[in-house]
Amino acid sequence: MDYLLTEEQQMLQDLARQIAHERIKPIRAQLDEEEIFPWDVLADLAQADLCGTVIPEAYGGLELGCLENCLVLEALAEGCVGVATTYAASFLGAYPLLLYGTDAQKHRYLPPLARGEALAAFALTEPQAGSDAGAIQATAVKDGDFYVLNGAKQWITNAGEAEFYTVIALTDRSKGVRGASALMVEKNDPGISFGKKEKKMGIRASVTREVILEDCRIPADRLLGKPGLGFIITMKTLDLARPGAGALAVGLAQSAMDEAAAFAKERHQFGAPIFSFQAVQHLLANMATQIEAARALVYAVARHIDSKPKDYSKQGAMAKLFATDMAMQVTVDAVQVMGGHGYMREYPVEKMMRDAKILQIFEGTNQIMRNIIGLALNKEYSKKK
């Protein structure tokens, strides 16, 4: 379908696709099987200038928008969602800086990210604070010109590999959520360490570790925005990232669809290709329709965000919710179309099905997405009275 992309947007999409098909696809099974962190692919992405898509030109990036970011994420996810998540998580770590960083802070962190020399990570989740992000307990206590951080951040994507961490911690415990702040912590700072690499169901090319902060002493100018803005920064960051999660889902689902359809053309049963059977065609028809609907929604929301509206929590949540639920269903159906072959690790769709599950969970579970949409609707319909 023609989404009226500009020539530049198509070039960007083609380039990301080229990397997905030439550099990621041939090795994705090995990355998954052996849980290898994709440094080689990240080097390719850096060479291609794709590490700086959303970073302003002044800091070495391409200064592109949410739609362009989604186009790249979708294309990379056609290769491997584990690799694409690694790449996307670095932007998640960078969004707080982009939104609230001072010029000096941006100059320190964004150029190495844009050049692909460093990765970033976003550290919010804690053992007791998942969907209930307001329950975080990590603290950042002001001590002269320093903050001293203590606490543990759980399941942090890119932890241990990233150079920069946006950590959400309480600078004022008495204020609860309003006492949370966002601070930049560096890998070489004293007092930061990392837990073991978690063993995951899917996206095994990406790493997930605990970030442990023990009297981690950082200069006070690492604070983003103002003290107490941490929760707002978190919400704005996630709002901005959510269409990206939707784009990952679209790319993944498209890839599963392509595998299943190609298989259905080749596989003969009852004397004919299984593609010719209505039972299979209906599965494929539903998959194709759902993918196109999700893609249209993700692009529309990304374009909405690029028009710089004041608030887009609801739309971002919708894009994430619809596309990631779709990807789960489509990858399950892709395995079904391929039958026993689909269940074998020799074929890529079982990995896609495992990878799809996390999309319904991370960056806010799809239950939380419905809460966000419900909250926004409640507000909208209250005003209309």
């Binding site: 020539e7 990397i19 390719d44 060479q47 291609a48 794709l50 391409l62």
Partner: protein
């Protein structure tokens, strides 16, 4: 400042090359075109030399007007400039006429310190244009390069991939090197370079620009003409013998003797 020139060729993507029944040259119409795969390794090596030692990488190709697309694609990997050699008179050129045309273009560019070519093009498969180009430019060439190393005096040591192993030769500059796929792992294109490549003005040089006469180029400037094209006859079943060299030599001698007697 090293002046590096990379020669590339646009070739048909398909493995099923179609031939013109009259001229016996390649038919290009209606077939998707790509950059000759070996030339991408030549380009990568040129870019690596530039990255390590500084200089400029200029792309050169001779072909029909649509060969410009190959140059733009190659510019997307980060080359500095590109020139297209295109003229109706260049059509039907054999390896000599092609090499002569490229040589004149390199002279017009002001010369080159290092010229890279792929070891051969996947359509014609002659592997001659590189060596002929060096010969016309009176510079040394090294074919089938699989590794380059620089000595302190600025000479180049080139490992050449041979059928059984490799040898290493040293050359001064200027020189021409044709490369095999083993030499490197070509980079991916860069978005910034692709954007620039889209707008880049690519000069087109024809007969007059190169001070050549129509007799020297194209089909009329070609020493060779293709008179017949046919698929190679199927080979017999190969045998692999193992054993001590003396034993194998004796066995081979016996076999050759038997065969020559059989033919008498």
């Amino acid at each position: 400042m090293l002046r590096i020139v990379v020669c590339i060729k646009q070739v048909p993507e398909t493995q099923e090359v179609r031939l013109d029944p009259v001229t016996h040259t390649l038919k290009r119409e209606g077939i998707a075109a790509i950059i000759n795969p070996f030339d991408l390794y030549a380009l990568e090596e040129g870019l690596r030399v530039k990255d390590a030692h500084g200089g400029t990488v200029t792309l050169l190709t001779m072909g029909p007007p649509q060969a410009e697309a190959a140059l733009r694609e190659a510019l997307g990997f980060g080359a500095d400039a590109a020139v297209l050699l295109s003229d109706q008179a260049f059509a039907g050129a054999d390896t000599w006429a092609t090499a002569l045309t490229l040589a004149r273009a390199i002279k017009k560019l002001g010369g080159a310190d290092l010229i890279f070519c792929g070891k051969q093009a996947i359509d014609g498969d002659t592997a001659q244009v590189g060596p002929m180009l060096a010969t016309i430019l009176t510079m040394p060439y090294v074919a089938w390069a699989r590794k380059l190393t620089w000595s302190e005096d600025g000479n180049l040591t080139v490992e050449r991939l041979l059928d059984h192993g490799y040898d290493a030769v040293e050359t001064s500059l200027p020189a021409l090197v044709t490369v095999v796929k083993e030499i490197n792992d070509p980079r991916v294109p860069s978005f910034k370079a692709k954007l620039k490549a889209k707008k880049e003005a690519i000069p087109v040089w024809g007969l007059a620009d190169l001070n050549l006469s129509a007799r020297e180029v194209g089909l009329s400037g070609s020493f060779t003409q293709v008179v017949k094209v046919f698929p190679p006859p199927a080979r017999g079943t190969p045998e692999i013998w193992t054993g001590a060299p003396e034993e194998l030599a004796a066995r081979l001698w016996r076999r050759l003797k038997e065969q020559s007697q059989a033919q008498l």
